[in-house]
């Protein structure tokens, strides 16, 4: 995003809308720190500017800058997945896709959320650490996969490493038998990054909404919250 400094009246109304504090005053007008900017578009969509000085430059859709846009602006659609937002269906369609079967656990790590954001080199620390421990079956339909130069070792393409994104979701599947080791590896990796991440675990229920992996979670160093996303199981294939 950019601000037309000829048009800007320096009212500062846009500053508080930026999730990354990338808008600042200089010489009496507002400017955007392009290195910090996620290209999420929140400042423009807020329609808060009284003189329409905020605008999007064309190169926001030019690679590798475009990576910021596709991963930070939920109103865009990823070319790879045809899904708006960051492009994952995870548990939301599991009753139809059967992506996570009984005996398997979907692991999703959202790097940079909430609020902090991340460079892709921080994400690479986690993917390479996971891959080294054998957890390298990264979800191919997740747009992050397309940013990797070598998914087997979790390495990203060199040109995207410095890009700063609001969030990146790493998804992979491990077996229930491997979950305890996976959680231990992930906990160790949490000490190596200069940002935050959230984790979620996806699993099929047993009858009566019994959670199959509850014992493993209880033994882990992670503290689950009381909220969850639940697929109620009424979808079916029709294509």
């Amino acid at each position: 995003m950019q601000i037309d400094t000829e048009r800007c009246v320096g009212c500062g109304r846009c500053h508080s809308y930026c999730p990354d504090q990338a808008i600042y005053f200089e010489d009496g007008v507002s400017k955007i720190d392009e290195d910090l900017c996620f290209e999420c578009g929140t400042c423009l969509r807020s329609e808060i500017c009284p003189v329409d000085a905020i605008y999007e430059v064309d190169d926001v859709f030019t690679y590798p800058r475009s990576v910021r846009k596709f991963f930070s602006d939920p109103t865009t659609t990823h070319k790879e997945t045809n899904m708006p937002g960051r492009g994952t269906e995870e548990v939301k369609t599991n009753d139809v896709t059967n992506r996570y079967k009984k005996g398997e656990v979907g692991v999703a790590l959202e790097i940079g959320r909430p609020t902090v954001g991340t460079r892709l080199y921080e994400v690479e620390k986690i993917t390479m650490g996971l891959a080294k421990a054998g957890f390298n079956n990264f979800e191919e339909s997740n747009p992050v996969f397309g940013l990797m130069a070598d998914p087997v070792i979790g390495k990203f393409k060199k040109e995207v490493l410095d890009e700063r994104l609001l969030s990146v979701i790493i998804e992979f599947i491990c077996t229930e038998n491997e979950l305890e080791r996976c959680l231990n590896v992930t906990h160790e990796l949490s000490k190596e990054i200069d940002t935050v991440f959230t984790m979620s675990l996806i699993s099929c229920y047993e009858p009566g909404m019994k959670i199959r992996i509850q014992d493993i979670i209880d033994r882990s160093k992670f503290i689950p919250r009381h909220n969850a996303k639940i697929n109620i199981g009424i979808g079916r294939k029709s294509n």
């Binding site: 508080s16 809308y17 930026c18 999730p19 578009g41 929140t42 969509r45 807020s46 939920p74 109103t75 659609t77 045809n82 899904m83 708006p84 937002g85 960051r86 269906e89 548990v91 369609t93 599991n94 009753d95 959320r113 909430p114 609020t115 902090v116 979701i169 949490s190 990054i193 200069d194 940002t195 935050v196 959230t198 984790m199 979620s200 675990l201 996806i202 699993s203 099929c204 229920y205 009858p207 009566g208 909404m209 959670i211 992670f222 503290i223 689950p224 919250r225 009381h226 909220n227 969850a228 996303k229 639940i230 697929n231 109620i232 199981g233 009424i234 979808g235 079916r236 294939k237 294509n239």
Partner: protein
């Protein structure tokens, strides 16, 4: 954790917060999904969501878009994202969606105990779960916990902590009401899962904790 799972707060503050997500599965049931989604939009609006978002327009109903604009913009890959602020409405909308039997996947987010209670009452044995396991790493970089209880209601992180600070100052200076502040905070959330009723309750609770200087 992703999207709706980021919500933070005590069980008490999360108890009247039910999120509904209906999603066509790409390559499985997305062909011709637009017509089904429009029927489901009618059901959802007939019950009355607290908030509802439209990715195609980048806005939610609190920003001024209406149901017809949302339906006109609906495509096969569109998704329903909305929030309900009462158990009764949430139960009613799930009941009607199940009865409509349109074949699209339905996911719901909220406190596990609250969701299970509703599903049990409707005799629904759910398929799978995405468990929120919490936030890790450099957590000292996170903003104020109270601010996060509000900002994390936007599933894509579009609500800035600075905007929370800004509206608190304006409330303190009596320039806006708490209700107006909650609406201002809801607008950046394009997908419409920001629960402004909960935001108003939280702001009312938090206001005494902050002071402003001239």
């Amino acid at each position: 954790m992703t999207h709706t799972l980021h919500r933070e707060g005590s069980d008490e503050s999360l108890k009247d917060d039910y999120l509904l997500l209906i999603t066509p599965a790409m390559k499985f049931n997305d062909k011709g999904a637009a017509g089904k989604i429009k029927k489901l939009i009618d059901i959802v609006f007939d019950v009355g969501p607290t908030n509802y978002g439209c990715y195609e327009k980048g806005q939610n109903i609190l920003s001024g878009i209406d149901v017809q604009i949302i339906k006109d913009a609906t495509k096969d890959n569109s998704r329903i994202r909305c929030v309900f602020d009462s158990k009764e409405k949430f139960k009613e909308v799930i009941k009607r969606i199940v009865k409509a039997d349109l074949g699209l996947s339905v996911a719901v987010t909220g406190l596990q105990s609250s969701i299970k209670e509703v599903l049990d009452e409707l005799n629904i044995d759910a398929h799978s779960i995405n468990i929120a396991m919490g936030t890790y790493g450099k957590t000292e970089k996170l903003p104020d916990e109270k601010f996060r209880m509000i900002t994390t209601m936007c599933g894509h992180g579009m609500v800035s902590p600075d905007l929370v600070k800004d509206v608190i100052i304006k409330i303190k200076r009596k320039r806006i009401s708490i209700k107006e502040a909650a609406i201002i905070l809801s607008k950046p959330c394009a997908c419409g899962i920001f629960n402004h009723e909960r935001a108003a309750r939280l702001l009312k609770e938090f206001i005494p904790y902050y002071s402003i200087q001239d």
